[in-house]
Amino acid sequence: EEDALIEQVVGGGDGDGDDRELGELLDAEAHFASFERRFGRTYRDAGERAYRLSVFRDNLRRARRHQRLDPTAAHGVTKFSDLTPAEFRERYLGLRGGGRTSLASTAEAPILPTDG
């Protein structure tokens, strides 16, 4: 059957939001400590670490959202989990002028037989 494209991804407005928020905070701190050990991360000072923890927590939420949008893969903590999406794009991608328009000046490969 087709997966439901529209899913309820935002929790109800009931009062348990604060507890969940607190749970998430504690959870993120534990995950962050294990992330630092696993990828050998050290930060300049307590201020930088606190900022990176906040970015990490946002990325935990992003990973959870990606998991819902992409259920046939596994998403979670990676070596890039302390980078904002903008930092990630700037530092680890690097394809310029994407899209076929920039391929206009390149010869097209001949069509190959694909049957038999």
Binding site: T72, A74, G94, R100, S102, T114
Partner: protein, 233 residues
């Protein structure tokens, strides 16, 4: 077309590398495609240099004169192939090792290991992509990397994914179906070699779904180029 195909099983794919904090993915995609083409032309797998392209390739796209290859600030595989045809070829990783930042060009023509005979773009048709992969070796491709920052494994097949291309990677094979850890759904997929080290994804590799119902997922079919290497004895 074979149902499954993987150039790693035929010795045409070098080790997973790590571009580090430098927007040089285009040079890894280019070197990976030429490594495969060189292997098909000579039977030898040579690990080729990305740093030569980072330092020396400032080729511009003929159709976009402002768009030139520029080291850690980005580039394009087709303009890199064009640079390699003009420069004469590519040195080995050993002779021109990766530094992860742009330095002065130290290209030594006498140490060229692999040469580009020609290159072309493959139409955005998945059968043609598979056929060119099987015939010419691993293909240089562009992709939208938005789901790759959090990717751990399995077959990625997002419900919604942008088609704007921002990352260059290497298509090395395809599978007819792979179990996804969640919902146990069979998904035919492409096998993609990335340049973020072996401690990302599935030992440095990424799988993304393909097939009639999910064409061009994250733009994966829309910028595919193949290269042929000069045969040297």
């Amino acid at each position: 077309l074979p149902a499954d195909f993987d150039w790693r099983e035929h010795g045409a794919v070098g080790p997973v590398k790590d571009q580090g904090s430098c927007g040089s993915c285009w040079s890894f995609s280019t070197s990976g495609a030429l490594e495969g083409a060189h292997y098909l032309a000579t039977g030898k797998l040579e690990v080729l240099s990305e740093q030569q392209m980072v330092d020396c390739d400032h080729e511009c796209d003929p159709s976009e004169s402002r768009a030139c290859d520029s080291g850690c600030n980005g580039g394009l595989m087709t303009t890199a192939f064009s640079y390699l045809m003009k420069s004469g070829g590519l040195q080995s990783e050993k002779d021109y090792p990766y530094a992860g930042r742009e330095n002065a060009c130290k290209f030594d023509k006498s140490k060229i290991v692999a040469q580009v005979k020609n290159f072309s773009v493959v139409s955005a048709n998945e059968d043609q992509i598979a056929a060119n992969l099987v015939k010419h070796g691993p293909l240089a491709i562009g992709i939208n990397a938005v789901f790759m920052q959090t990717y751990i494994g399995g077959v990625s097949c997002p419900y919604i994914c942008g088609k704007h291309l921002d990352h260059g990677v290497l298509l090395v094979g395809y599978g007819s179906a792979g179990y996804a850890p969640i919902r146990f759904k069979e998904k035919p997929y492409w096998i993609i070699k990335n340049s973020w080290g072996e401690n990302w994804g599935e030992n440095g590799y990424y799988k993304i779904c393909r097939g009639p119902h999910v064409q061009n997922k994250c733009g994966v079919d829309s910028m595919v180029s193949t290269v042929t290497a000069i045969h040297t004895s």
